[in-house]
Subunit: 242 residues, 2 copies
Amino acid sequence: MNIELAVAKTNKYASRESGDTVEVIERPHGGFSVVLADGQGSGRSAKATSHMVTAKAISLLKDGARDGVAARMVHDYLYTYKGGQVSATLAIISVDLVTRTLVLTRNSHCPVLVSGPDQPELLVLQGSSNAIGIYPATRPVITELPLQENTYLVTFTDGLMEAGVRDNRPIDLMSLFGKALTEGKIDASSLAEYLLAQALEADGQRPADDMSVVVIAMPPGSQQEPGLIIPSVRHLTMDFPV
Amino acid sequence: MNIELAVAKTNKYASRESGDTVEVIERPHGGFSVVLADGQGSGRSAKATSHMVTAKAISLLKDGARDGVAARMVHDYLYTYKGGQVSATLAIISVDLVTRTLVLTRNSHCPVLVSGPDQPELLVLQGSSNAIGIYPATRPVITELPLQENTYLVTFTDGLMEAGVRDNRPIDLMSLFGKALTEGKIDASSLAEYLLAQALEADGQRPADDMSVVVIAMPPGSQQEPGLIIPSVRHLTMDFPV
């Protein structure tokens, strides 16, 4: 099975820095985790918050913390150092090769949408959870799903979710995601590009807020010729306009 | 200008885990860093070493450490906890948007190859530097180059560098890299794919060691239509066979 990840992000219009930060790390026992944080506000101070939050989270995860512990600790850290005055949303999406599960840890009002195999309906993970940093002892909402082919997952920050709201033409990410899958956009990059493009269009190419989208795709594997040795290669690519 | 990064890696033949670890993080003041470590030996213990080394390095870099400090500290950490018994090679390749430079920090016998604008010859950074973990107070070799369009950089672990040596048909990475650029392979992914494919071929598709390759490319920018608003989008993609 091949697991694909795609992240696409852009800034609020006329803002030099994005208050969203996304980091991806390899997990100590196998697999990877994506950490997505949206710092309160926009610009430099929002960036500093989301940077601090993701820095702590990836350091804990690399040191072997389980995801729920990492999310709690990151909250405690932000709450301690910012005195309950600064909030951030946090999502940790992990592909855990030990448990062979997707582990979805949310401290956010933004949902995680999952299209699983043999399920006609999208699973919408939107159980109520607080952003981190404001209330004492905030806990995440955690969902674990089996790693299976034909699973597609998307999550995002509220800049994407609320695209178009300013002009009273909100986008419906659930139906856009379902439509993209139906149309055969089943690689992670195409899904991420499509959803971001729709959001940018809804905001007239001038995003009202920082936007980030994270997609994980497990498309059906191609049949391998028996006896043929093909080394298994991992790839990562990034592009970064400056 | 668009800065592209590509990483490709594979395991030693018949080994379940790669002793190489590559992590990419966003820098606190803008830009990104790639940390590449190759742990001594192969298999599980090599993986644990390179994981520990990269975990420490990215935690320090995210917290604002300058690259030379991060490399020294990672050495001190490995030397302290492993008592000088375990070594690793370490390379930190940073795109620093504050200084507008590429910062190349090496504790490795593997070189960094750079093709710059207006330079017919490849720059080969191979100043002698020790692997970390073995000798007291090991220092990195650091090179700083301007961020300029038409710059292409590659580095790798010794599994790639020594491909084919077992069968007495070593590859010449300098000439392969130069050839690829001459043939117009100027996007980071194509360069990484090409070099890894050549190394796999030299090893008969059964890599004698873990192989990783990191490419940074700054291809010439396309002309933007004046007046057209195009939001600047960053992308990251990964694929991960399991």
